[in-house]
């Protein structure tokens, strides 16, 4: 059972990495969600140029693997003279990926709000901005919440890719312990369990929120 003492030794370092992973997740969501909402609204814009530009951005943002976007920022940007730290690359890249994916989730949520309510607002003379702000967005965001939570779990998992751009998050810490002790299987298993310790309960919460939301939506009709 020597691996347990090893695990106890490695825990502090791994937990430090885990904390960083969570911080990157939070930063990416903080950047990506507002951008995603903006894109969600812009992709239904009556101005064709705006609409097409945003659709293109969303398609590329969703089509490119997160790993590519991460490395684009860290290894690719310097060629233009702009060098960013690994930490900034991490949450910029993941923030953009978040924006692209959540724009689709939010768009679906906004569209799920019954069209009749938008008509009622129009009939009352309420401006489009006010309709979005007070009637459509509050309900749309609530509808989108379970899917957004599910996506947050995926972004947390994606922080493990930041290993490749030298961010000292959880996987990096595990790997460096592994390369110095050669106990790869042991330390990587522990890291895996730490990831699972967060994602599995989180996914269970998301599933519950999802069930409650579909019950609420069925009720409302």
């Amino acid at each position: 059972m020597s691996f347990l003492t090893n695990w106890a030794d490695w825990m502090p370092t791994l937990l430090k990495g885990l904390l960083l992973s969570i911080e990157i997740t939070a930063a990416s969501l903080a950047i990506g969600l507002p951008l995603g909402l903006l894109l969600a609204v812009a992709t239904s814009s009556p101005v064709k140029a705006v609409r097409w530009l945003c659709i293109a951005l969303v398609e590329v943002g969703r089509g490119a693997p997160a790993l590519v976007v991460l490395q684009l920022f860290y290894f690719g940007l310097p060629s233009t003279g702009l060098t960013v730290s690994s930490f900034v690359s991490a949450f910029c890249a993941l923030g953009l990926t978040t924006a692209a994916f959540t724009s689709e989730i939010l768009r679906a949520g906004l569209q799920a709000v019954p069209a009749g309510e938008t008509e009622a607002c129009a009939a009352l003379g309420v401006t489009r901005m006010d309709t979005l702000r007070f009637v459509v967005a509050p309900q749309g965001l609530r509808i989108a919440l379970p899917a957004l939570m599910g996506f947050a779990v995926l972004i947390f998992q994606a922080t493990s890719l930041c290993f490749t751009i030298a961010v000292p998050e959880l996987l990096s810490q595990a790997y460096s312990i592994g390369s110095s002790t050669f106990q790869y299987l042991s330390v990587l298993s522990l890291a895996g369990l730490l990831y699972a310790a967060i994602t599995v309960p989180a996914s269970w919460l998301v599933a519950r929120a999802d069930r409650r939301m579909s019950r609420h939506l069925a009720h409302a009709t």
Binding site: G63, P65, A66, L72, S79, S189, Y195, A196, S203
Partner: protein
Amino acid sequence: MEALNAVLVGVPLTLLVTAAAFAMGAVLGVPLVVGLRSERALARIPCRFLVDLLRGVPAIVWLFVIYFGVSIGAYRFAAVPAAIIGLGAISAAYLAEIYRGGISSVHAGQWEAAQALGVDGRTVFSRIVGPQALRVSIPSMASYLISLLKDSSIASTIGVTEIVFYTTQDARSGGGGLTVYIIAAITYTVLSIPLGLASRALYDSLRKKVSR
């Protein structure tokens, strides 16, 4: 266009890893979903645990575990097999959940009618419910295939010489790093287009065969 060449050289392995992992997952997903739906806790709980673990731990961690961590005697996995096994196992978990959704969407009356006719459980599953569940699952499976295509990029971290491997090599060796990454991003987007179209076509042709 040296950058484009660098990217294109990696495409065959990207496609190989994606296809092999998907095939493995599509097949292994079946016993997994049977286990998930089993009434016996002895089968259901380990399957649930396995699926949650496979989906809850990031893919790159799984690949590292298999590539760096596993040594059976003197044997260690080579990069490509490790990538396929890792991504294949994860795919099995995701596809099992997709199958589960498809199966539960098949009208309960189908089960009841078949059982009332005296058809045994296994045949009900394979000949009546299964095909309908599969049809419903196809869009989700296609969607997963596209995301698997992107996840195949993770294989580069254990040395598989696919798209990202060559892209990074090209970026770090010369100047113009930004261009090659943009080309890589567009390549992945372009590769997923035929998948989306094929899935739409397959779904439509299957739908014609079923009356509802």
